[in-house]
Symmetry: C2
Amino acid sequence: MNQTKRKVKEQFHLFLSNKGLKGTLQRSLILDAFLDLDRSTHIDELYLILRGKHPNIGHATVYRALRLFASAGIAREINLGDGLTRYGVAGGRRHDYLVCNDCGTVTEFENGSIERYQAEVARSMGFTVQSLKIELRGVCNRCMAQAGRHS
Amino acid sequence: MNQTKRKVKEQFHLFLSNKGLKGTLQRSLILDAFLDLDRSTHIDELYLILRGKHPNIGHATVYRALRLFASAGIAREINLGDGLTRYGVAGGRRHDYLVCNDCGTVTEFENGSIERYQAEVARSMGFTVQSLKIELRGVCNRCMAQAGRHS
DNA sequence: CATACAATGACATTCACTTTCAAGCAGACA
DNA sequence: TGTCTGCTTGAAAGTGAATGTCATTGTATG
Ligand SMILES: [Mn+2]
Ligand SMILES: [Mn+2]
Ligand SMILES: [Zn+2]
Ligand SMILES: [Zn+2]
């Protein structure tokens, strides 16, 4: 268990205490699986991973845990309009997404200057910006290479 | 019925002919309601408006019609991650959204330079961009003014 | 017209997600 | 350590947007 992970788990424990909530085996297992993945994921992926080792864990519990992580500031909800809710680790402020239309891979990146400019445009329209999301859809280089090979 | 609307209806009629599909009273009524609104909307809003004058119109028919309009290039699907599919008139290439967290209003705008820059960043990561969506959430000036009045 | 087949609308179904509820468990306090 | 409160769990049922089914109706074309 690396340093970052230890810190997050501590942060979660503190969050629970402050809110009068309880630490449970399930929450610990789900948080471990989430942090160990180290990339954005959806609930079903986590659920299947967890069921492999802990067949008694409940579907609803995974949903509830991820929502809880989000409210604790540990996870970030990602909604890309495909009907699934994804979650990413909340460290940093990544909210720019490259979504491959071929393989579905989601790559996150950050670009501060574009955000500042974009927010400026919004302000000029009398809009107070609270959050910003940029979503690019296309073909990732891996899929592009594969397509070339088949032609 | 203004010039733009007449043109769109003609375009739709042509689309139907080319595909071997049929013009129906319902499709005409739904297209009228959609174009008359002249702002992005979700199916239920259209459905309620239509039910006022035409109580026999079906729920599924409105869904089917809007999907058809989209495939005809008349409507644009908008998905802002709240679980509802919105539709806007497809004229122009607006895909930048200001969403008010207070009143839910969706304002669309376009900003070509930001898009070109953003696409360049993506390309530099080996990603071939096919479409781009920018979503800013915050408070619109109307809601901001109201908040000020109450304080 | 007649005929072929697309479209409609009531209804059922899907799918991601949430809620319910009885049983279980965590943690505070004595 | 034991007790007690009430948070948590998991199975099952429910929710809500959207889509599929299918008998019936409507449309366009010859
Ligand atoms: Mn960013
Ligand atoms: Mn849904
Ligand atoms: Zn790909
Ligand atoms: Zn507003």
